[in-house]
Subunit: 215 residues, 4 copies
DNA sequence: CATGAATGAGACTTCATTCAT
DNA sequence: TATGAATGAAGTCTCATTCAT
């Protein structure tokens, strides 16, 4: 019936995806305040008015972007951990590596930077983000640290704090990739791989080390 | 003789400090773009026009805030390092501790979050911040790592990458304190001290360890 | 069917004309700097924001006004000249007369006064005006002077300088009409027709004269 | 008593001259609206407040500048004419030449451009300018034309109109020198001397010519 | 007399949101 | 459903003028 494109029904169904994809791109690139609603619509191939048919405000659009992209993320992370076998160090390494390779450098990683920037002006969004993203992720790592301690792989460290310490480098590099690392700044480039390797090396040395610090 | 306040001369002398303090507060609270020049002026107790008497633009006001607060900072750090005599590990620990206690939790620490958030939209500010803050700080830690290697205290690690790794936890917690940590989010509190201790412990263990990881 | 006015489509089509007409009026009346964008919009019957929907800045609005009104002008002048067959003196006379009757006394003529007044403070507008108006007009007259010389109608005069001299009286009266002549000044009225006739007479006498000035 | 500068009394007397000189410079350079009161004061070597001690507003300062500079001008012109002998053509030539050399290219000449630009917003000033400057100047030239006719030097032309025609080129070039001619515009330079010579030549040819235009 | 810090109205421009078509 | 023209509040910055010193 319509050889040149999706039917109206079909269009209605895919509009949100197009809009969310465009919004993700621009929110990550410019931040929440600096991203323009009109540009999101244009990037999605629709008019400004159409965007407002699906999302009642810029704020709600942003929330939808966060929900859409975080749900997938957390789901995948749980799958990886649930089906995992092997040493805890290896598991942690896998998780960090996958995180880095699949998330941190992608647009989704940029959402974390945007959240960090706008959290002060969106307390409601901040709570949502902590509940749906930060805490689940932290639980994941904390459980892995405990697993390592229980299995005698790790020293008996403070699990929550070490979980934080373990996530920190990837989080930090993720922020860097979407801020200072994103625009070409003369004379300041971080080598993410080297930094991550260095950090992981230090971490595992410190976490696994059985040797005493020399007196 | 003057029951109504400081003289004009005195007022003129303290204006920059009043303005810089107000600007620091609002830039940290709202970010660079969202902070309003007029509100900065009002918080400093002057009119909009008066602010422009002292700083020619919002951008220059921000730069002045960074300089004012960072110059002192870097200066003090250099003094600490220059006159230091202890082990490199101790020096790094002192630096990180001082940084944490005196900067990260204060308003000054919030400036880093702001820069991270706005760097993509204000390239001029980004370049300025890299030149005046990020690179000097990095040089400081890199030099300390090299010192440790030369004195045989540390393994022969990749100094720039490890310098990054060493700063990362404080940077990260600093960001946290001024984003998710700044607004009361139910059920999610990081214990900064514990996290930092955990991280530092891991770091130094990994950095100093002479023992091989058992196969 | 539509008792309240033009349709949206129709409105969109006529907006530029409404805005350009309003802008022409106010730029000529107040000058470029003193004319207010908001007043232009109000005179055109739209809001400030709508004006910016059609023209990205006050400067571009002004350029559009010049283009709109000058393009027609130059085009018509070229047609007159291209299809002309009479003597060069007659052609010049026609051009000057047409210029005077159709341009100099109209709002369009006022644009020249505005440019003259603002050229020092808006170099971009100045360059634009020289490129689009002054130089083309000068070329037209210079070509006519050359035509007259080649056909033996005129003495072998310095064509560029004489072209200037020929245009000068109309230019001058045009400026007068939109400055001192525009506001009712008691006791000082120039009779433009008489002045122009006198000048043209002198000019053609001087340009064509074959007789020697008596010693 | 005061070896380092004028006494207070002396300062009080010369202040107006300093201020008027500075104001003339800046009004001519930037126009009335664009000239800054503060810059006038700075150029005169006094503070903004001092300027307001002598002139109650920017407008009054401008009026004073016009009065100061025009009085001298008209006075000198009358002297030249009153004591003159020789042919009327020579007298007109002298007057035009002197006008060109001493006024048109000087700052005073620029006042005419400024008046032309701002006359619409200063009707009161316009009237003053016509009374004190334009009409006296016109009378001067009209009298010379009549003198030439009476003495049989000129054809029996329309004296007021020809007076205008005769002044026009200098007025026009004067405007040009302080507008388009003042800023370096690529590809458009008028040679004032050549243009003036061309115009004067045409004029005198036309004014004096006894020969008939050939049929 | 002289100063210059301070003011605040007002200019240009942007952009989230609405609504007639 | 979809459009995009239209709005107007709000933001940065300027500058003539005032007045305490």
């Amino acid at each position: 019936m319509n050889p040149i494109g999706p039917t109206r029904q079909r269009r209605k169904e895919i509009r949100p995806q197009q809009l969310l994809a465009a919004a993700l791109t621009l929110f990550v690139e410019k931040g929440f305040a600096a991203a323009r609603v009109e540009e999101v619509a244009r990037l999605a191939g629709v008019s400004k008015g159409t965007l407002y048919l699906y999302y009642p405000s810029k704020t709600e659009l942003f929330k939808a972007v966060v929900r859409e992209n975080i749900a997938t993320l957390i789901g995948e992370a749980h799958e990886i951990v649930a089906g995992a076998a092997g040493s805890s160090a290896e598991l942690i390494g896998m998780l960090l590596t996958g995180w880095w390779e699949r998330v941190a450098g992608s647009q989704v990683g940029g959402l974390h930077k945007v959240m960090l920037a706008e959290v002060g002006n969106f307390p409601e969004l901040a709570q949502f983000y902590v509940d749906e993203v930060i805490r689940p992720a932290h639980r994941l790592f904390e459980a892995l640290i405990r697993r390592g301690i229980e299995r005698g792989e790790f020293r008996p460290v403070d699990a929550p704090a070490v979980a934080h310490a373990v996530m920190t480098p990837v989080l930090f590099l993720m922020l860097h990739e979407h801020s200072f690392g994103a625009c070409p700044i003369e004379g300041f480039e971080i080598d993410p791989a080297a930094t991550l390797t260095a950090h992981a090396d230090l971490m595992l040395q410190g976490l696994c080390a059985r040797a005493e610090i020399s007196p």
